[in-house]
Symmetry: C2
Subunit: 327 residues, 2 copies
């Protein structure tokens, strides 16, 4: 695999090179990891930035329809759109959201759009790294907007929020009771809450739900990264394509303000530091699985198992002997 | 602090030395950690073993009353009993189960018993290490039975199960519907299920619940570490002190069988290996917070934050330069 060719292809916006690059960052093989690191490092100097939009919503809220309609609106404006997914369930079930591109049939055929299903991975940390690096590749391929989809199950929202510039929470119209169903922590992550399905019989209910959430958002402490009026709640209908232009306007108002005030760059820098620490932790664990550490570990584990050493003393011997900090 | 004196005191079964030893293993200070490792290592050659009994039950099930009555029964048999707690809630709330010894007033005054409340810790990992090392100290102090209490909230049961020889699940009498309330994973951990409050009006309900669980246990796959008839469900009344002698008999039948068949030693060895790996992971993270790694990390994090390096490349540089495996 020639990394220089691949980097050139990605920089030129070639979809095939991008797809192959993402496959490379998804690989668990050590030699692939080294190549992936080179690829990412060689594309970094381009310093291209897309608007990264995190999108969360529980199943049934109309997420696929929203992404299809919203994505087509953006490509209609001449923007290039990439769609990625963080699917915490893929680890166990093997199933994946976005695995079925037919759910977004029109968007997937749009030459200005790029849709990539969530890979099967063994843990959320692996999915997170792959998605974060796929984002870097999509930015290098000069996409304007990157949508990062996740399902609303708690931890994956935090992961997606840590790689997004804006975070959207998509909700369905609901009675007052269900307001409690959104965890406070997820509400606090949201920059814009979109009440979908504001169409037909559900419209009045959607308006009420929107008013409820707008009220709830006002109760939250104002965040430094928000201009007046944000975070806000809006109604949309992905089915009838209403409210999406307004929602996009608000996203641009928010991101422009953050760019001007330095919050955008500040957040990106903070995220980069966060992911660096995450990489260090993952890298440490990977090193435990390599020789000679693995061999020493096995010998010490046997000693501990036979009661010839305490766990604490054996861990110290391993760490001092094989993984110690170099002065 | 003189570690040799402390070790001698603990080996002689002195409560004050034991309490001070546990305070030492609970400490977060690096110099204390080194002393704690020495203390544990110096007591290891005694090779004393207690019967470690993990005990889980949701609030309201009568756990304190059970421990008091069961503990007094054991001390009445001439056995020395230690009670420890793994409280996953103490991290957040600052509150702790067993914090209030008055809940076990008679047991806490018994010279053959030693009760230690759960410490406040920042994470379950910290609580786990401290409890595991407190167990080692109690064994060195020649206790016969160590009860490790936890509340029924999922992850803490796994932690307690990883440090116990037997695992008891304490339940209250309930209708058939509530059978579903116990997670299958926790059911599968249990060696003996005790239906408490089999007294007064609740007695018939307790008998039914016991029969329900006995039926459910038969549906689980037989485990190699169990003789015929185990895991089993029994009724007890901690309030009226009925069924506890029978329960203790069953615990002895099970532990004797496991000792004879080698499952006891096998499980202990496996647990020791597990905790060794856990120590290695904790130790790696602790090393990241020390100089010179901390300094290099900060410099690299800034570079990543400014976009001068990718997270992957910076992590690799750190790991290769400062924390690499020595060949």
């Amino acid at each position: 695999m020639d990394i220089e060719d691949m980097a050139r292809g990605i920089a030129a916006g070639e979809r095939r090179a991008l797809a192959r690059g993402i496959t490379l960052v998804e690989s668990g093989r050590a030699d692939h990891r080294a190549l992936a690191t080179n690829l990412l490092e060689s594309l970094r100097p381009l310093k291209r930035q897309a608007l990264r939009i995190g999108l969360s919503g529980t199943p049934g809220v109309g997420k696929s329809t929203f992404i299809e309609t919203f994505g087509l609106m953006l490509t209609g404006l001449g923007l290039r759109v990439a769609v990625l997914a963080v699917d915490p369930s893929s680890a166990r079930s093997g199933g994946s959201i976005l695995g079925d591109k037919t759910r977004m049939e029109r968007l997937s055929r749009d030459p200005k759009a790029f849709i990539r299903p969530s890979p099967s991975q063994t843990h959320l940390g692996g999915v997170a790294r792959r998605t974060r690096e796929a984002i870097d590749l999509c930015e290098a391929a000069d996409f304007d907007v990157i949508l990062i989809e996740t399902v609303g199950v708690g931890q994956s929202e935090t992961v997606v929020s840590e790689m997004s510039d804006l975070f959207l929470l998509l909700l369905a119209p609901a009675g007052g009771d269900e307001l409690q169903g959104v965890k406070r922590g997820i509400m606090e992550m949201a920059d814009i809450i979109l009440i979908n399905k504001a169409d037909g019989d559900l419209r009045p209910q959607a308006m009420r739900t929107c008013a409820d959430y707008a009220g709830a958002l006002r109760l939250l402490r104002k965040r430094p990264q928000d201009p007046d009026g944000f975070p806000k709640a809006l109604t949309v209908s992905a089915l009838e394509d209403t409210g999406l232009v307004k929602a996009w306007d608000e996203m641009q108002v928010l991101s422009d303000w953050r760019r001007e005030t330095g919050h955008w760059a500040g957040r990106r820098a903070e995220q980069a530091r966060f992911w660096f620490l995450s990489e260090v932790r993952e890298g440490l664990l990977a090193r435990l699985r390599r020789e000679p550490v693995k061999g020493a570990m096995s010998v010490l584990a046997d000693k501990v198992g036979r009661g010839e050493m305490t766990a604490a003393a054996a861990a110290e011997e391993l760490l001092d002997g094989y993984l110690a900090a170099r002065g």
